[in-house]
Amino acid sequence: MVADAQTIEDLGVKPSSTSGVGYLFGRLRHHPLGMFGFVGVVLLLTMAVFAPWIGPHNPSSQDFTILSAPSLAHPFGTDSLGRDILSRVVYASRVELSVSLSAVFIGVALATVVGTVSGYFGGITDSSIQRVNDVWLAFPGLILLLIVSAVLGPSPRTLVIALVVGTIPGTSRIIRGAVLSEKNNAYIEAARVMGCSQLRIMFRHVLPQIVPLIIVIVSIAIPSIALLGAALSFLGLGVMPPTPSWGADLSGDARSYFETAPWMAIFPGLALSLTVLSFNLLGDAMRDILDPRLRGSAQ
């Protein structure tokens, strides 16, 4: 009878559910701060998707009442061109979220490929990739991103590219380290003996082992990338006006008129901070849940 069993479930053994979305969510429910972050992120996504129904006005339409203080008609006031700030804050969530999320996913995916190849093959492949990485990491802070934005001209797409450029070197190095410590395990040798191809070993055997690490990296990267992207927009090298974005809406006129219209400088920043806070809380919870080395230490 045992011989007929096709899978481990047939033997009446439940697969240990230490991974998967259900497990993650189950753990998250016992993590109040993480749950808070999760709810915040869900609200944020809802706001971005249903922006036309939530924002009371068109974010680009101009009213004759410029710089009017918060009122019933304009709960967050209007800006120097008479546009409704609440609507701009709501609509901005679209560009902010799509830029940050796509930059993180593209960046981490590329970094995973680079890091896995570098760590798994070793030798010349590894050292040449790592020397390029050395150069990449040696650029001081924001400067490389500023230059890349200047080369490509400011736009949301440029912003994504610049943020991806900023994500790859550090992340790929972390993943390379994880692959290095994984590849000497016996099961890798077993797979090789069974005649698995290099590609198969890399992506079907090594990669699944580092998936928790990748989830942690993604959830920690989202808030910091969101801040970085907003900073680039603030400096005029990311999303450009008139497209509503929290970063760009905080620069320019918001700073020229801050004495007469402080609401221009307050609400976009508040929205950005709450967004980053939600992602930070969710990211911390993910790390607590998935990184056994840190488990319990930050609870």
């Binding site: 001081p140 400067i143 901070s273």
Partner: protein
């Protein structure tokens, strides 16, 4: 160990040259005509041509023969301490940098102390009493601090005193030695704005590091041999849990230019960060190349210092 340091030192020039090459090429593909940006839209064709001739912009970028094109000429001068002339300011880049360095340096030193002292104290207190009210409070404040963008804090720092007290920090820069009061009025808020996210990061780092160290065997040994708790904390916990702080501080000192760009722009402080930002926007090739190359040197050097300092902090670490 010596061998390890020598090998790392040999790599430094290669990395720095790599950075300078990438910057050189990237800056040349930035769209827009340098001469036009430098001279303005009213410049005649003739003056544009003269400007290009005077600044060697007609020469090939790379060349096999001396002086090896524009890149070779610049990097040759750079190695001798001549960074070339800024197109935009018309002055030697080295003088521009030397004039602006004190601003960024003061900003760095001030935010260094504002970050580290409260950050380490709060982190240690929270880490020693996990899940106590103090710990919960510290962690909440820290995650909030980490979530607030420094450019928004900086904006609020200008906005709030302006509205409540009708006071704005005097813009520009006065040397600390000629007018210390005015100087501190100018630098305190920027340094504070720059420090808030960094402090939050340090608190979290120190807290988790203290927690980890407290669970180590050598702490149990120290307790078992009857050391007083104050000695255990000051001699064993503190020293070991500050190792990751050294890493983060060392690395962030190298990458400091990034934070300086934003804060100096908002407070109109004429430092190196603002200079770099303006130079990129005005396509001031030689200024950007020199600044980035120097910055890269600092980054690589600080990374080496951090790696070496591990050995001093943790004698178990050996490099081969």
């Amino acid at each position: 160990m010596t061998q390890y340091i020598i090998r790392r030192l040999i790599l430094i020039p290669f990395v720095v040259i790599g950075v300078s090459l990438v910057t050189f090429v990237l800056m040349r593909v930035v769209p827009g005509d340098v001469a036009r940006v430098a001279l303005g839209t009213t410049a005649t064709e003739q003056s544009l041509a003269e400007f290009r001739e005077a600044n060697g912009l007609n020469k090939p970028l790379f060349d096999w023969h001396p002086p090896f094109g524009q890149y070779g000429e610049w990097i040759g001068g750079f190695a001798k301490g001549d960074f070339g002339r800024s197109y935009f300011h018309g002055t030697p880049v080295r003088d521009e940098l030397a004039n602006r360095l004190p601003v960024t340096l003061q900003l760095t030193i001030m935010s260094f102390f504002i970050t580290l002292i409260p950050g380490i104290i709060a982190g240690v207190i929270a880490g020693l009493r996990p899940n106590s009210p103090v710990d919960l409070f510290t962690r909440t404040v820290a995650v909030a601090g980490l979530s607030v963008p420094s450019f928004w804090i900086a904006t609020l720092f200008i906005l709030v005193p302006a509205i409540w007290f009708n006071w704005t920090p005097p813009f520009g820069k006065v040397s600390f030695f000629s007018d210390p009061v005015r100087n501190l009025q100018q630098f305190t808020l920027p340094a504070l704005a720059m420090s808030i996210p960094a402090t939050a990061g340090i608190v979290r780092l120190v807290r988790s590091s203290v927690l980890e160290v407290l669970h180590q065997d050598y702490i149990r040994t120290a307790r078992a041999k009857g050391l007083r708790e104050t000695v255990i904390i000051s001699r064993h916990v503190l020293k070991n849990s500050l190792i990751p702080v050294v890493t983060v501080v060392g690395m962030s000192l190298g990458g400091l230019l990034g934070g300086a760009v934003i804060i100096e722009t908002i407070f109109a402080l004429p430092g190196v960060g603002l200079f770099g930002y303006q130079s990129i926007l005005s396509r001031d090739y030689l200024a950007v190349q020199s600044l980035v190359t120097l910055g890269a040197f600092l980054v690589v050097f600080m990374n080496l210092v951090v790696d070496i300092s591990y050995v001093w902090f943790d004698p178990r670490i050996r490099y081969s």
